[in-house]
């Protein structure tokens, strides 16, 4: 058994140490908000925070996540960045199919936690690892800027 700290709660998992955190969250812990998109850290749909830093959970083995603070889309609404971002996502009707949006919000939340008032270039750089095939990028960028303004 390996113990993880997910969204502030300790959780025990009986899975091989090489199992990617993504599948631990989804298949072992039943937390399906974090999505599988590519399995190679190319699309960002599986983005979570590990000790506050954005990480691609599809390429993060369970062994390296053990003992660290993990935050997922299910928990990000309890942070001030997550809350303003989710409100801005709704206000701008960002999602279309929505499948990539958990990862988008997690990347944006990590950015705002580090840089409260990011420049457009900083937003672009922080968000360009996240793919959206529906093409919601301009709305994402708008929503991140709006959330940044609403961040006290």
């Amino acid at each position: 058994m390996i113990t993880l700290n997910v969204n502030g709660k300790p959780m025990s998992v009986d899975a091989d140490r090489d199992t990617p955190l993504l599948w631990v969250l989804r298949d072992h812990l039943g937390m399906t908000g974090t999505k599988y998109g590519c399995g190679m850290a190319l699309c960002g749909a599986c983005t979570v925070h590990v000790n506050g830093h954005p990480a691609r959970s599809c390429s993060t083995p369970l062994s390296s996540a053990a003992g660290k603070r993990i935050t997922t889309i299910e928990g990000i609404g309890h942070t001030k960045e997550g809350r303003v971002l989710q409100e801005a996502w709704v206000a701008n009707d960002v999602p279309q199919c929505g499948y990539c949006q958990s990862g988008q919000i997690m990347s944006a939340a990590a950015l705002l936690a580090k840089v409260k008032r990011p420049t457009d270039a900083e937003i672009e750089s922080a968000m360009s690892g996240n793919v959206c095939r529906c093409g919601t990028y301009n709305r994402i960028s708008l929503a991140v800027r709006q959330a940044s303004r609403n961040l006290k």
Binding site: D93, P95, Y99, I140
Partner: protein, 730 residues
């Protein structure tokens, strides 16, 4: 459109419906309507007169709208409820959405005859009157119930934003308070729909019904379904299309912890495990020997060479007007150009997947369900069941772009075969990895086009010959009889055979060679290639005629007012006549325009590009004008224009699936490259004012962006772009 009769289902299903009010609309007959591609497909009328149920009003005043179309991002779960809410005078906050079950007798797509399915940008267009009538009938019944309760004249009662009010006596009721008594009232046979000037919700910005769930991780997709005892299946597929498993050794796979079973299916070997990662490790450990006797072994280069030699011969005529040889003989100037297009994968963010649960006399499926009338019989055939024994649960789809409406129900059939192979002992979730999804075929076909045109001495376009070579998408599908006429697959020539420009002598021909690569419709279908060749060739002609590309088009579109309107809007928004300024010395800038109609919607775009000395380039800005009839949800329309532009631009900049000796060379997002935020242009969307019936918006922006960008690059560099994806030499 048709007149719909409305009957009350509440009495029949009174116990089931509880105290609520359920309404259905019957469809007496179907007129000739357009099929899934660009107009013109004749459709067999559906004879049945059975009810559909679209609205349910609960005693808690919630209004549940049963939506018959898949929500794959395009906004159906917002658009169709808007229609109901409008005529019902509901408050938007009351609206809930439920996906319809598979039942073509009630939930058929009115543009596809008797078929139930989502595609061809038809969801809102085919539902426009049907859903409004369902809402209007519910409103009339609530009104009658209130009149009865208060013993007042119905016309003294008003309903607005979900409140039923009798002002003279200051009495009020909610929908919920009236629902039970309204359910006892006969359904009005003749409902009056609102005059568009009275619309309160249509035409306004409304928050999408699915936004919140898609922003906090609670929206459930097929990938998220977990049933008790469910196994996850991954399949080892043959390396080439048409290959089959000959023999396999499952010993190492079965030794992997979590792996439960390994079974052969017709096109591969499935590994079943308790979870994805175990199944993946099991599949990695599996050894399969393939029978490639029937496998397709050509590469993209050989296919294109074959297409080029075919293009040297006349094809089947798709359109023929005037005297083409005569016109070419007297032309002062003749231009020729050839165009090449690669295979394209849909590459939805959620790779294909589905969950199948078998019992003795039924099969239940959870899926981003797009094509019920294909999927039910295809799945039933695997099991020896009747189509109606296949229950389909329609979940949110993580994108589709056409892919989930597979004419052979490919991945559903595969999942069903696996469930059958283990004799239904456990529910099965089939998951394709990104690599499986990328290499599974059902691509937008490769195409080769040859265009030849003649200008007279005054620069007028007098002759146009267009030859298209590429696989038929519809051959071998249920649509073949309907939409392949005299050997012409309507989807191969749409956008070319109906060229909007007034050219007196015109010929469009088609070759449809067979290849062993499975192909399928891909967002905007034939227009993905026809819009490109026709609209970029037109710019070459404008240059040869010494005319401005925008004015050259306008002159040829005098009889196409919708085209002219959006063209003018896009040009105006772009300040077409104001020269572009380069930000840096050595940068070349260019502006390009294109216009195209697909799915009865006309879109014009102006793109502005910058080309650097090293040949690198970017699209700076896109102005997009659209005429899609009456704008029901303007913000959804804007979102779909933005989406179509990104999807089309991605393909124009990066998109190519290539084959080498029959093996697909791409596998994931490192070699099938998606556009990312750092490559995004600014986008402005402008919606033409119209009171015509709404037309589709999911696809029509997609085909316009590539020619607009190519024309901008042509303007910047002087070199025409004739193959996709775009490659520019330094």
């Amino acid at each position: 459109m048709n007149e719909f009769g409305i009957i009350n289902l509440s009495r029949r299903d009174f116990l089931k419906a509880g105290m609520g009010l359920t309404l259905g609309v019957t469809v007496p007959s179907l007129a000739q309507m357009a099929g899934p591609g660009q107009g013109g497909g004749s459709v067999v009328a559906a004879g049945a007169l059975e009810p559909n149920a679209f609205v349910r009003i609960g005693t808690d005043s919630t209004v549940t709208v049963i939506v018959k179309h898949l929500e794959m991002g395009q906004g159906t779960y917002t658009g169709l409820p808007t229609l109901v809410a409008e005529e019902l005078d509901a408050d938007w906050s009351q609206i809930r959405v439920e996906g319809a079950p598979a039942d073509a007798s009630r939930y058929n797509n009115l543009f596809l005859g008797a078929m139930q399915g989502t595609g061809g940008s038809t969801a809102l267009a085919n539902s426009y009157e049907q859903m409004r009538k369902a809402g209007a009938a519910a409103r009339a019944m609530l009104l009658a119930a209130a009149a009865e309760r208060w013993n007042v004249a119905p016309d003294s009662i008003t309903i607005a934003r979900g409140a039923v009010v009798h002002e003279p006596s200051n009495r009020k009721a909610t929908f919920g308070q009236l629902a039970a008594s309204a359910a006892k009232i006969p359904v009005p046979q003749d409902v009056k729909l609102k005059d568009p000037k009275d619309f309160a919700l249509i035409g306004r910005r409304l928050t999408r019904t699915d936004t919140r769930a898609k922003s906090n991780g609670t929206a459930i997709y097929t990938q998220d379904v977990k049933l008790p005892g469910m196994l996850t299946a991954l399949v080892a597929h043959p390396p080439r299309f048409g290959g089959k498993p000959k023999a396999f050794d499952a010993a190492k796979a079965k030794a992997v912890k979590g792996v439960v079973d390994v079974v052969a299916i017709p096109q591969g070997v499935a590994v079943l495990a308790s979870d994805f990662w175990s199944a993946k490790k099991g599949r990695d450990a599996l050894a399969v020997e393939w029978d490639e006797s029937g496998a397709f072994k050509l590469g993209s280069a050989e296919i294109m060479a074959e297409y080029k030699s075919l293009a040297a011969t006349p094809g089947l005529p798709a359109r023929k007007e005037g005297d083409l040889p005569g016109a070419f003989a007297r032309a002062a100037k003749t231009l020729e150009a050839a165009y090449e297009f690669p295979y394209l994968a849909h590459a939805c963010m959620e790779p294909m997947n589905c969950v199948v649960k078998l019992s003795a006399d039924a099969c239940e499926i959870w899926n981003g369900e797009q094509f019920q009338s294909i999927d039910q019989p295809e799945v039933a055939a695997v099991l020896g069941m009747k189509p109606e024994q296949v229950k389909l649960n329609m979940l949110f789809a993580g994108g589709s772009f056409g892919r989930r409406a597979n004419p052979h129900a490919d991945y559903l059939v595969e999942a069903t075969q696996i469930a059958k192979a283990i004799e239904g002992r456990a529910p099965v979730k089939l998951v394709w990895t990104r690599e499986d999804d990328m290499r599974a075929g059902h691509y937008r076909p490769m195409y080769y086009h040859e265009l030849k045109a003649g200008l007279d001495a005054q620069g007028n376009l007098i002759a146009w010959q267009h030859r298209i070579v590429g696989q038929s998408i519809l051959a071998g599908t249920a649509f073949e009889g309907m939409m392949v006429k005299d050997g012409i697959d309507a989807t191969s020539v749409e956008g070319a055979a109906n060229l909007p420009y007034a050219v007196p002598n015109l010929g469009v021909e088609l070759h449809s060679p067979k290849m062993g690569v499975p192909v399928q419709w891909w967002r905007s279908v034939g227009s993905t290639h026809t819009a490109f060749s026709t609209e970029t060739f037109l710019d070459e002609l404008a240059l040869a005629a010494g005319k401005d590309p925008y004015q050259f088009r306008r002159a040829l579109l005098a009889k196409s007012p919708r085209h002219e309107t959006v063209l003018k809007m896009a040009a105006t928004e772009a300040d077409w006549n104001t020269p572009l300024v380069s930000a840096r010395v050595g940068d070349r800038r260019g502006r390009g325009i294109a216009v195209h109609e697909s799915f009865n919607t006309v879109v014009a775009q102006v793109a502005e590009v910058t080309v650097r000395r090293d040949g690198s380039w970017r699209v700076d800005r896109v102005m997009c004008a659209v005429d899609c009839g009456l704008a029901v949800n303007p913000d959804v329309i804007r979102a779909q224009m933005e989406s179509g532009i990104v999807y089309g631009l991605t393909a124009a900049m990066h998109g190519a699936i290539t084959l080498k000796d029959g093996v697909v060379e791409q596998s994931n997002f490192h070699d099938y490259i998606p556009l990312r935020m750092n490559e995004m242009p600014r986008i402005g969307v402008y919606i033409a004012r119209s009171n015509e019936k709404p037309t589709g918006v999911g696809e029509p922006a997609t085909p316009v962006i590539a020619p607009a960008v190519a024309n901008a690059l042509f303007a910047a560099t002087g070199k025409p772009i004739r193959s996709l994806p775009i490659r520019i030499q330094a």
